[in-house]
Symmetry: C2
Subunit: 318 residues, 2 copies
């Protein structure tokens, strides 16, 4: 307990998760500008776009153009999201993305039904097909993800034991098909987590899987995002998804107040001030947050971009 | 460690701290409406106004009218702020307020100079005068407060040992003048705290003062408010200041991004979901947050008022 990790790895999801939910069309050049700026902050993993049906998510119709426009940079992996074979093939075709396979099970049957129109059996059955798809393209499958791992607006609380069972199932499916998961992500898709729940669920999954790293994907819909992240850090979790300036939100959560992920610069600030290495230049990241706000044209929820970093204040005080 | 308190006591400061900072004049009737609504939520302590110079803080010129207009309610203590004898006399004259004396020292000499134009010696010397003033009116002095207990925009980091010394000094001053402090508040006036710093400073003050309860006053300027509050809860802290909807901010912090206190309903939500008793009807409190936003006429930072409580969702799910 209270064993903060010496270093955290942040997967920046702002450009994908953020621009997907914005009402107005965001010019492709602006998306590229933000991604290029993010790539100069020290962030090692940046999810730049989503290869989804342009008819369904018009804001992502320029996925190829975004990827073609960004500037490669040593040490930076550009990642993307896809939901099916067609999407993956589009991502592969760019030739410029870091590609990894991921398995996904759901903590909530009701949300799975609503989101994918599938029952849990069908979702499990789909995973070997995913593995086969990745193997056909020589793409490693190292990550498993549990959506709605803490609770669901359509089903209620998700018990820790269910999450442990789902992780078990995912690892077994992977192993049965020649893959070994080394990272398991827990998604608080609809913001049901509290710090104590994070400790409980993370602890249960860690106890059953001491050989696997955990990652947290925390939405800030009810304001507990950073408190939950801190609870995760206390449990030694070292992988976090985050979105610059707090861009984004989940359109499928069918929830008026659904907010984005935890804000990257606020989280990075908290980590840095607690002595946890992030590899990030916070002042550059704050500049990206200001840029993101300029690009979307409305206030974004991150606080440090307004409040300022303490390192900057200390430097001024000498 | 990780000994959450079974119950927390929240001192609601929204009406005072919030309306003080708003640009436009807030009609007195609206202030009264919000206070009366807050008094029905189960909140036991509500700071309703500030008896300060009407020329300096025009938004508080209606302090007497606000106090005269609110409806007394059993179990609810209406409190107020004052900065000098004149203010205290105005508060006493209302005959409707719960009055308590408070001593204050500063974690930062630079901020004390800026805020009060005093050096630390003069600030210490002023405390016995305060005690005499309270004693002359039969008002108990039980609380000590350390302003800027975690850091200062004008001076930098504040070491835990300094805070321990200031608490020592305040307790000694009180004792030397026939009073005994039973509650010590630590103010993160300019948002320098992180969860780890909260644990360190709170732990140091607790170790030196096992017979005194602690209270936290946390500004959310850098987004860590609730994470810091959680760290305080883990240390057993059971007294918190908060502002409904996240109203407010400190005009004297001379900081563009200065945000208000932690948001009452977000904090109460976090506590309730972790099994900590607050005495608050969360749905009624959320309605107050919506009302506060209506009254000020612009978005306020609280999240649960948009995201909704989980208790409401659970009730709907049956």
């Amino acid at each position: 307990m209270n064993s903060l990790p010496p270093r955290v790895h942040i997967h920046e999801e702002g450009p994908r998760e953020g621009f997907q939910i914005e009402r107005g069309p965001i010019p492709t050049a602006q998306k590229i500008r933000l991604v290029d700026a993010l790539a100069e902050t020290g962030l090692a993993d940046i999810q730049v776009t989503s290869f989804v049906h342009p008819g369904k998510v018009p804001g992502m119709a320029d996925a190829e153009a975004v990827v073609a426009g960004i500037t490669p940079r040593p040490g930076v992996r550009f990642t993307a999201l896809w939901l099916n074979q067609r999407g993956l093939e589009r991502a592969i075709a760019t030739g410029r993305l870091h590609l990894e396979g991921k398995l996904t099970l759901y903590g909530s049957d009701a949300f799975l039904k609503r989101n994918q129109n599938r029952d849990p059996e069908a979702q499990r059955a789909a995973q070997p097909e995913l593995i086969a798809m990745y193997q056909a393209h020589d793409i490693p499958v190292r990550t498993g993800f549990v959506t709605a791992a803490f609770g669901c607006n359509f089903e209620g609380d998700v018990p820790a034991e269910r999450v442990v069972r789902l992780v078990d199932e995912m690892r077994a499916i992977a192993r049965d098909h020649g893959e070994e998961l080394s990272l398991v992500g827990l998604g608080d898709t609809m913001a049901w987590a509290t710090p104590e729940r994070i400790r409980r669920v993370v602890g249960a999954v860690q106890d059953a899987n001491p050989d696997v790293a955990l990652s947290l994907h925390l939405h800030d819909t009810r304001g507990l995002g950073l408190a939950n992240a801190y609870a995760g850090l206390q449990m030694g979790v070292a992988h976090f998804d985050a979105a610059v300036a707090g861009l984004g939100g989940c359109p499928f959560a069918a929830h008026a107040g659904a907010a984005g992920n935890i804000c990257t610069e606020d989280f990075a600030f908290m980590c840095a001030e607690m002595g946890i290495e992030t590899g990030i230049d916070l002042e550059k990241l704050i500049a990206c947050a200001v840029l993101a706000e300029e690009i979307v044209g409305h206030p974004l929820p991150g606080k440090v971009k307004t409040g300022g970093s303490l390192a900057a204040l200390r430097a001024r005080l000498g």
